[in-house]
């Protein structure tokens, strides 16, 4: 499963562009970003104060007391310092809490915006995109991939800024405290930087691979869960599991490779920074012996060095987070860049109430890169006319409808509605005029009522009931314990297929379209119920253009005209009698069905 349509693992890296594209999502929250940075700076100031106070304590009262033995006054002095320290620490904690809350909120808001944007963008893409991409992959994009950006926004952006400030700030302060000692520390610093960044190249590749593996895993599982009944019916549990094991193992391996990188990274950083610290001890030990510096100063210096190493380590750590986030951002933006193959025109021709004239003018079409599915098809349908389309399976009937609603664009020729090429119309306005019952019924989880009116609150419950009555769905709906409020499970798992078709039928009637298109809409409905439906249709169809696709010829007997397709070409057209007369394809179908 899902061996098809795999996505490549490697893409080109384009960080700068990615970052530039992320900025607009952060922009609405720039005040809060600024606030958070201010809070971080406050925290930094507090961090600087703490070692300083310790130094004051050690070199001041403690050293004094050791020298003159006056413990009492030294303790009082020390108490004062401790009180200051306590106050500073309390302020720092408050700042930290504030910063955390602000950033979480910002991060979550941005993610929400991104998710919504990705989801609505996907909703606007053309069907050809959905032909190519399994649902599991798309779900991964709007959930896991976007989630990975979380850290980038919550801690990433401001922390990087903060860390840079911190590094520069600490170095300045260190120089100020004790320039020679700082010199010792700074000799080691380049090594630290080199080590940190040695890991980065590795990281990006590893993360990109991880994202792809995650997506594959999800797509496989999603298909597997949905097709479980078929898997079980055909006893393929073992084999499916084996194939899953392969995907699952690849997923693990990708992660383990990334772990190797991480596991080396922290200890290496630790080694280098400890070496620097030890060098500082060595040097300052000599300096203390020589009486050049005091012990408290050494202590302050030591603690301050910690403040230097932390941000450096954090920066490289964040770099990893960035790599991971960028790998995700690539995928999310890849999605947002996906242009719908169906572009709405700049200035669409208005189409308020369509008369329902339809024209196919020398239309040739094929899906994607594939062969032509329709070849040079031309026909006209007058407003209010009822047309039936018949033909062998795979002849291209559904394709005609896909072109009429402009779900795909023709290769050559024109499809016109009310005399306008559909490419001049706003697809939404066009589709509003066309009521479509699809060959495959799709129901949404929720209840029956909402499935009929599709969450359109403008449609009253009475109207829904009436439509259900018209199509004869009321009989089974009212037999259910909760009637119209009965639960519908995923894909309508608990309705019979015929019942689902009736619901889809009722759906299209509530929307009252100018053009009605029924693609095998009664294929799974028994003849008796269908007869009811036919009567209802006769009434509702008056004045509307209708296209009926059916294999059961009985279904289309009301049609004014019948178009017969074969292998993507329009082969016969005319009324039932004319076609029977012609003794062609239609005649043959007719003979077969009348038994």
């Amino acid at each position: 499963m899902t061996t098809s349509l795999e996505e490549p693992i490697h893409g080109k890296a384009y960080d700068a562009r990615l970052v530039r594209r992320l900025i607009p999502f952060a922009r609405p929250y720039r005040r809060r970003f600024a606030g958070s940075i201010a809070l971080l700076l406050g925290m930094f100031a507090a961090d600087l104060v703490i070692p300083y106070v310790i130094r004051l304590g050690v070199d001041g009262p403690i050293a004094d007391a050791r020298a003159d033995g006056d413990v009492g006054s030294a303790l009082r002095e020390l108490g004062g310092l401790v009180a200051i320290l306590g106050a500073v620490a309390a302020i720092r904690l408050a700042l930290q809490l504030g910063q955390l809350l602000v950033m979480t909120q910002v991060g979550q808001s941005i993610l929400h915006d991104l998710r919504l944007k990705a989801f609505s963008h996907l909703q606007s893409l053309s069907l050809s995109y959905f032909d190519r991409n399994p649902v599991g992959r798309l779900v991964t994009r709007v959930t896991n991939d976007i989630e990975t950006l979380n850290e980038l926004f919550t801690s990433g952006v401001s922390v990087v800024f903060y860390d840079l400030v911190k590094i520069v700030g600490v170095i300045v302060v260190l120089l100020f405290i004790e320039p020679r000692l700082t010199g010792v520390a700074l000799i080691g610093l380049p090594i630290l930087v080199v080590v940190s960044f040695a890991f980065r190249n590795h990281a990006r590749h590893a993360y990109r691979e991880i994202r792809t593996r995650v997506s594959r895993l999800n797509a496989f599982l999603q298909e597997c869960f949905q097709g479980m009944r078929v898997v079980q019916l055909f006893n393929q549990e073992r084999r499916v599991l084996e194939r899953f094991d392969g995907i699952n193992a690849e997923h693990r391996k990708a992660h383990v490779r990334a772990h190797l990188n991480w596991s080396l990274f922290f200890p290496s950083i630790d080694l280098v920074s400890t070496a620097i610290l030890a060098a500082v001890v060595w040097y300052s030990g000599l300096a203390i012996v020589d009486g050049e510096i005091q012990f408290g100063l050494f202590l302050q210096f030591w603690m301050m060095l910690g403040y230097l190493f932390d941000p450096i380590r954090e920066l490289s750590e964040k770099y990893n987070v960035f790599q991971s986030a960028m790998a995700s951002a690539e995928r999310v933006f890849g999605l947002l860049d996906e242009r719908s193959e169906i572009e709405a025109p700049e200035k669409p021709v208005p189409l308020e109430a369509a008369r329902g004239a339809i024209e196919f003018d020398q239309v040739t079409f094929g899906y994607g890169e594939g062969p032509d599915v329709l070849r040079d098809v031309s026909f006209r349908i007058a407003p209010g006319e009822k047309i039936a389309i018949v033909g062998a399976t795979g002849a291209g009937k559904t394709t005609i409808i896909n072109l009429l609603g402009r779900y795909y664009d023709v290769r050559s020729g024109h499809v016109r509605v009310d005399g306008h090429d559909v490419r001049q119309l706003d697809p939404r306005a066009l589709r509003r005029q066309i009521g479509l019952v699809l060959q495959d019924v799709f129901l949404f989880p929720g209840d029956i009522l909402e499935n009929i009116r599709l969450g359109d609150a403008g449609i009253s419950e009475e109207r829904v009931h009436e439509a259900a009555r018209l199509v004869g769905a009321d009989r089974f709906i009212e037999g259910l314990p909760d009637g119209y409020r009965s639960e519908v499970r995923e894909r309508g798992a608990t309705q019979s297929v015929g019942e689902k078709q009736l619901i889809a039928f009722a759906r299209v009637l509530t929307f009252d379209p100018a053009i009605l298109v029924l693609d095998e809409a009664t294929a799974h409905i028994d003849p008796e119920t269908e007869r009811l439906l036919q009567r209802a249709l006769e009434k509702t169809l008056t004045g509307r253009t209708a296209i009926l696709i059916a294999h059961r010829l009985a279904t289309i007997r009301h049609a004014d005209r019948i178009l017969v397709f074969h292998h993507g070409q329009l082969r016969e057209a005319g009324t039932h009698e004319e076609l029977v007369e012609q003794r062609g394809l239609y005649h043959r179908l007719h003979l077969l069905q009348s038994g």
Binding site: T2, T3, I62, A65, R66, L78, G79, L81, V82, A90, L97, Q108, R115, F119, D131, V135, V139, T143, Q222, F225, M228, R229, L233, F234, E237, L241, V256, L264, P267, L271, A279, V281, W282, L286, I288, G291, F295, A392, T393, G394, Y407, R431, L438, D440, F442, T494, G498, L502, F511, E520, A523, H524, P527, E530, H551, A554, E577, L589, L592, Q593
Partner: protein, 589 residues
């Protein structure tokens, strides 16, 4: 705790990774504790020399150089330990994660159709990914930091105690306070983590719907309302994350406060001890180092706690799947017969998907081996249900359904299903090549057999037109095929099983009369000596049936051959006249 037994077993099974990781921990911790002490000693030397206490016996330059070399060497060793600890630990939990996911899928595969009717794909998906991920985080980094902390804490405290008891006791007060806070915040962390995971599952379920239903959504211009609904769930999810972050934030603040209190205590009490020469400056340094060192794990402890609570919430969600039992109980072990002959008997079977609303009632029916029966009935009368029961997709009351005179419960599921060729009313194909789809039930089938199956369903005529022929990839669920092509692929898939019982559930509904005729012709060959259930709304398709069954509201109301049923003047006659009437109407000039 027995809930965690499965996890425990997994951990035990893969213990070598964790043990390898854990073995490194004491080494790393020992060195971690030792290095500051070496530095402290060095500082004491420095102090002694600078005060002149050593009487000139110490060559301080030499000492400090040795110290430098030793510290760097030991740190290198420590880094090696840390690497081992991290790496093996991580590999271990990835392996556990992998196996857990394998187990989850294996378990889901054992569950019955009813489970998948009730549970949403998106929700299951989120359990198999996000929740398992959360569990991994809890057993991996979570466990590692926990062990690390538990080792560091007692040794560090013991050493500090030997240096200065008062100070150490003073330090244990904030430490204890932290432990208490962590405990108190635990349940809340759990609740909020669980909320986050539930909301995430809702969100992903909604995304699945939104993408699967995109054809309908676009056809009815419902994009906006779909986006709004998704947006609402997305906001709920973001909100639940925020709530969780608040709890975590407070936890961090409490931990941070504890840390500062410790520093203050060291400065005050330690300073006092230093003044009275009870504590050397080097030891004062060690105190500061150790508390910092204790704090990193303690901070991590807060984080670990979050991980554990999240892991527990995730485990509970996973456990809901693991504790679900298959509703269909079937015998395991040796099949009682080499092969089914295809004799099916319903004995007063009453069945409902929900306990109190029967879909099939008092069904008494005997289908003989090799017989072809046609089943007709109104929409929702229970035809598909009847077919599903024969494949034992849903549980039936004991003894009410017998195959070859054996109760269906006594037949091993895999063996049973291997002998049934089922074409479901709604086709499900996989995104794979068309050949792989036909071969699905019999991966070992020969190419000739596949070609033959394709010919029976007449899909071979379409396949030659495809760009890649049998290797043509078809989109998810077969979206790149026409409705009839999809149905016929499913028919080939079933026919290839060479089943004892062939079930066609309205399987030619999307096929034109001409193709239908050809398929029926081919099927005649296939159906010879097989039992065949043929559900259809097109009466013309049922003319080969030996017997027709008429279902109405879950009851078998009529049965017999076409002529008898017409003569009976009941439901079937009405359906038939309807049919005839239609034909006549068509033929009117």
């Amino acid at each position: 705790m027995s809930r965690f037994r499965r996890l425990g077993r997994l951990l035990r099974h893969h213990r070598r990774w964790f043990l390898a990781g854990l073995i490194c921990v004491p080494g790393a911790v020992t060195l971690e504790l030792w290095i500051p002490r070496l530095l402290g000693k060095g500082i004491d030397d420095v102090e002694r020399v600078s005060r002149g206490d050593d009487g000139g016996t110490i060559d301080i330059g030499d000492r400090l150089f040795t110290l430098f070399v030793v510290v760097v060497g030991l740190t290198a060793l420590k880094s090696a330990f840390r690497f081992g600890m991290r790496y093996w630990q991580n590999v271990g939990c990835r392996v556990v994660e992998e196996e857990l996911r394998h187990d989850l899928l294996a378990h889901l595969e054992s569950l019955s159709a009813g489970y998948f009717d009730r549970n949403r794909t998106g929700d299951l998906l989120s359990r198999a990914t996000a929740d398992i991920e959360a569990i991994r985080m809890a057993i991996g980094p979570g466990l590692m930091y926990l062990v690390n902390t538990l080792l560091v804490l007692p040794f560090a405290l013991a050493y500090l105690l030997s240096l200065d008891a008062t100070l150490t006791l003073a330090l244990s007060v904030p430490l204890a306070a932290i432990a208490l806070t962590v405990r108190l915040l635990g349940p809340r962390l759990y609740r909020r983590s669980r909320a986050v995971q539930d909301r995430a599952a809702d969100l992903s379920a909604r995304a699945v719907d939104g993408f699967q239903g995109v054809r309908v959504i676009q056809a009815f211009n419902r994009e906006q309302s779909e986006v709004d609904a998704f947006g609402m769930l997305s906001r709920d999810y973001a909100h639940s994350q925020l709530e969780l972050a608040k709890t975590r934030g407070w936890l961090q603040v409490f931990l941070g406060a504890g840390r500062r209190v410790c520093i203050l205590a060291i400065l005050m009490i330690g300073g006092w001890a230093v003044m009275r020469d009870r504590l050397s400056l080097g030891d004062f340094f060690v105190f500061i180092q150790y508390t910092e060192m204790l704090f990193f794990p303690l901070m991590a402890f807060g984080w670990v706690l979050g991980l554990f609570q999240r892991g527990r919430a995730a485990w509970d969600r996973l456990d809901e799947v693991f504790t679900a039992t298959p509703e269909v109980c079937a015998a395991t072990g040796e099949p009682p017969l080499p092969r089914l002959s295809g004799d099916i008997r319903f004995d007063g079977l009453t069945f409902g998907y929900e306990p109190d609303c029967p879909v099939l009632r008092d069904l008494d029916l005997h289908i003989h081996a090799g017989e072809t029966v046609g089943i007709v009935g109104r929409t929702g009368s229970g035809k598909s249900t009847l077919a599903r029961l024969i494949a034992h997709l849903y549980p039936v009351p004991a003894g009410s359904l017998r195959l070859d005179d054996l109760p269906i419960e006594e037949l091993p599921l895999a063996w049973l299903r291997h002998q049934i060729g089922f074409v479901p009313q709604e086709t499900f194909l996989l995104s794979d090549t068309i050949e792989a789809n036909i071969r699905f039930g019999r991966p070992d089938a020969t190419d000739e057999a596949v070609r033959w199956a394709a010919r029976v369903s007449q899909i071979d005529r379409d396949i030659v037109d495809f760009k890649d022929g049998y290797e043509q990839m078809i989109g998810e669920r077969g979206v790149t095929l026409s409705g009839g092509q999809r149905q016929r692929t499913a028919l080939s898939r079933a026919v290839l099983m060479e089943p004892s019982i062939l079930i066609l559930d309205d399987s030619l509904a999307s096929v034109d009369a001409d193709t239908e005729e050809r398929i029926l012709h081919e099927l005649r060959e296939v159906m010879r000596d097989r039992t065949c259930l043929f559900i259809s709304h097109r009466l013309s398709a049922l003319r080969d049936a030996d017997r027709l069954l008429v279902l109405d509201e879950g009851r078998l109301v009529e049965q017999g051959c076409h002529a008898d049923l017409v003569a009976l003047g009941g439901v079937y006659a009405r359906l038939f006249h309807q049919h005839e009437l239609e034909q006549q109407l068509e033929d009117l000039p």
